[in-house]
């Protein structure tokens, strides 16, 4: 047995074995793949279950298999409220993402590029929404909205989502701003670009990868959020809330359809990105 294999096994040997046994050798060889396969299966079972049961010819509850059908995919909005909840989630996600990304990007640039009073304080405050338990945030916000006499609904949900998404946007974009050479912006100013032109033609395009990453993260966080939403939504339904509520009497298969569709869309986007990046690398290599 080589030293590397011993390490892979995680065994600490007091004395080197004079003749390595075959059993240990094959264990070292099989342990990692088997372990990895088990971990992957564990991760994928809920997703596969959701996908398979989106084709179930269910009546009220979608727990036992009653036969294959495509009806649920073709008539997604048949179940009461599912499409409305999904639409709300998308609307909230888009608006909260736009607001949080715009505000967060501006904050990130200010924190890196300028020195001002309470800069350290702002940095600290931005971490709070990430560190505070969601239940506390949700309950606290609900109390505030109640105190203000605000109607719980789309507006309060969007405000709540924007609030916690900003922190993640700032952290993501800040990393990008830090790596941006200030000389590039100076070169822009030197080459007759006005402050606005410097921002839109130099700073913004160079920050764009970070901004897009931050926006995707915001949207995912917003779309996914249940706890804070539940406190601040009143009677308005979002997709996670719809599933939570309907879980008591059985989640309709239409919800599985939407969940599977979202999952497939995400996978397709990631694959497309990977393929285009590989193509670009190839093209760059060719030019050089």
């Amino acid at each position: 047995m080589t030293l590397q294999e011993a390490r892979a096994l995680g065994t600490v040997m007091e004395t080197p074995a004079p003749r390595p046994s075959r059993a240990r050798f094959s264990l070292g060889r099989w342990l990692l793949p088997v372990y990895s396969a088990l971990a992957l299966i564990f991760l994928l079972v809920p997703i596969v279950y959701t996908f398979v049961f989106s084709f179930n010819d269910s009546l009220k509850s979608n727990i036992s298999w009653r036969g294959f059908t495509l009806d649920k995919w073709t008539n997604v909005c048949a179940a009461q409220g599912v499409c409305e909840a999904f639409g709300n989630s998308i609307l909230i996600g888009v608006i909260a993402t736009l607001a949080a990304t715009t505000l967060g990007t501006a904050i990130a640039i200010a924190l890196v590029r300028y020195r001002f009073r309470f800069r350290t304080g702002v940095n600290l405050l931005l971490f709070l929404p990430m560190a505070t338990p969601e239940v506390v945030l949700g309950a606290g916000l609900a109390a505030e909205f109640l105190g203000l006499g605000a109607d719980m609904g789309l507006v309060t949900i969007i405000l709540a989502h924007t609030m916690f998404c900003i922190s993640f946007v700032v952290v993501t974009v800040k990393a990008r701003v830090t790596s941006l050479d200030p000389a590039l912006e100076e070169a822009g100013r030197d080459l007759y670009a006005s402050p606005g032109q410097v921002f839109w033609r130099i700073t913004f395009p160079l920050l764009l990868p970070g901004i897009v990453a931050a926006a995707l993260l915001s949207f995912a966080l917003s779309f996914d959020d249940f706890i804070i939403t539940n406190f601040n939504s009143g009677t308005t339904d979002t997709f996670p809330k719809f599933i939570y509520v309907s879980a008591a009497r059985g989640v309709p298969a239409e919800a599985n359809v939407i969940a599977s569709a979202v999952f497939i869309l995400a996978i397709v986007l990631v694959l497309a990105q990977q393929i285009s990046a590989a193509a670009r690398r190839k093209r760059l290599a060719k030019v050089q």
Partner: protein, 399 residues
């Protein structure tokens, strides 16, 4: 906008009483400087001497604490960088990584809405012989090529004044020498005023018509490279621009056109016209290549300074010449450069030698040779930046 009309030739640059203070230290103190149109001017100095700050002030990237900046007679002190007829070649090149080479070069023209920006950009790229790479991105080019693109991006705008911030600092020695010649010929070709900042004395002397040696936020001496080298006025210039052997002592006699200085019992004669001070304690010196080594004691002659005997304590051979270090009791170490006309070094270590030079090659300084500090001073850029950061941090904590 600066009106879109730019000089086809260079313009004068005039700095009047410029002062620049950063929190905690003064980078430039009372600087007056005039750079005539069409000249190649070098600001030479060690890091932290304020040369880059001067350049950034002219570009408008920093604001002067006091003083005026005039370009072609027009006061630009209060204008923004994009309103000044000035372009900069940055030390890091600062090419826009998300644009192609041609887009980079055309950037300034497009902002000023100049007709046929692309055509003019191609022309500028042809000048630096990189037109065939116009469609590439900066990261696909080598360091030397990026440097030339940065140059093309600046000169395509025909600025009245071109600022070069150590543009050759990141290149290797061979490429640097080649680019020095290229820069010089481009300057002659386009006829613009170049202001070049560098810490490389050889680079400054090869390229510039006029060199200003800066130290601690002030210009120590300004003039043509030959004049600065042959007749340095201060100890800093004598040692920063090449090497010098310096001796300090009281003036003990004056003849019609020369003074003689007593250095630990040795007499050193310097022409009055080449000495800044003619009485009291003075520092005089001579360049190592002006010195001659003798292995037997030569007869004292009028018009020659003779020191010795001493012993050779170090010989280093460098191809064209050999550097000898001779220790003479009471005078310390004297550096002598000798051309290798014959074969190999003339003398070995430990040889007893005398050193002589012609009186007309000596010079007298206006200040005293500083005692050599054991550690370099803490006024270089990095420690200044650190200091500045600390000051800001404490300021913010107080807030």
């Amino acid at each position: 906008m600066a009106g879109g009309v730019f000089a086809e030739s260079g313009a004068d640059l005039e700095l009047v009483g410029i002062q620049k203070r950063f929190p905690g230290f003064t980078a430039i103190e009372g600087m007056d400087l005039t750079i005539p149109a069409g000249s190649f001017f070098a600001l030479l100095g060690p890091s932290g001497c304020g040369k880059t700050t001067t350049l950034r002030l002219v570009a408008g990237l920093e604001e002067a604490t006091a003083g005026r900046i005039l370009i072609g007679g027009k006061d630009v002190t209060d204008t923004k960088p994009y309103q000044r007829p000035v372009n900069t070649v940055f030390q890091s090149y600062a090419l826009f990584p998300h644009m192609t080479i041609i887009e980079n070069v055309a950037f300034g023209l497009r902002r000023r809405k100049i007709a046929d920006a692309t055509g003019k950009a191609h022309e500028a790229l042809r000048l630096v012989e990189l037109d065939h790479l116009a469609a590439r991105r900066p990261q696909q080019l080598s360091g030397g090529q990026q440097q030339r693109v940065a140059l093309a991006r600046a000169i395509v705008n025909r600025p009245a004044l071109l600022l070069l911030d150590e543009p050759l600092g990141a290149l290797d020695l061979k490429l640097r020498r080649q680019m020095q010649l290229e820069l010089k010929s481009i300057q002659e070709e386009v006829g613009l005023t170049f202001l070049h900042v560098t810490h490389d004395q050889e680079e400054a002397m090869t390229m510039a018509d006029t060199v200003a040696v800066m130290n601690k936020g002030k210009i120590e001496q300004l003039g043509a490279p030959e004049v600065l080298y042959e007749l340095p006025r201060t100890a800093f210039v004598a040692n920063f621009l090449g090497q010098s052997n310096l001796f300090t002592g009281p003036v003990e006699g004056t003849t019609g056109d020369s003074i003689s200085v007593n250095v630990e019992g040795n007499r050193i004669v310097v022409p009055k016209s080449r000495a800044q001070r003619h009485s009291g304690e003075v520092t005089v010196g001579a360049r190592p290549e002006k010195l001659t080594l003798h292995v037997t004691e030569p007869k004292p002659e009028a018009g020659t300074n003779l020191l010795g005997p001493g012993r050779v304590i170090d010989v280093s051979f460098s191809g064209v010449s050999t550097q000898y270090i001779v220790a003479i009791p009471g005078l310390g170490s004297i550096v002598v450069f000798a051309q290798n006309m014959g074969v190999g070094p003339l003398v070995g270590e430990g040889t007893e030698t005398w050193v002589s030079w012609k009186v007309e090659h000596g010079f007298g300084l206006e200040d005293e040779a500083p005692r050599q500090p054991r550690f370099s001073s803490d006024t270089d850029t990095a420690s200044i930046a650190l200091e500045k950061k600390r000051a800001l941090m404490s300021e913010l904590e107080e807030a």
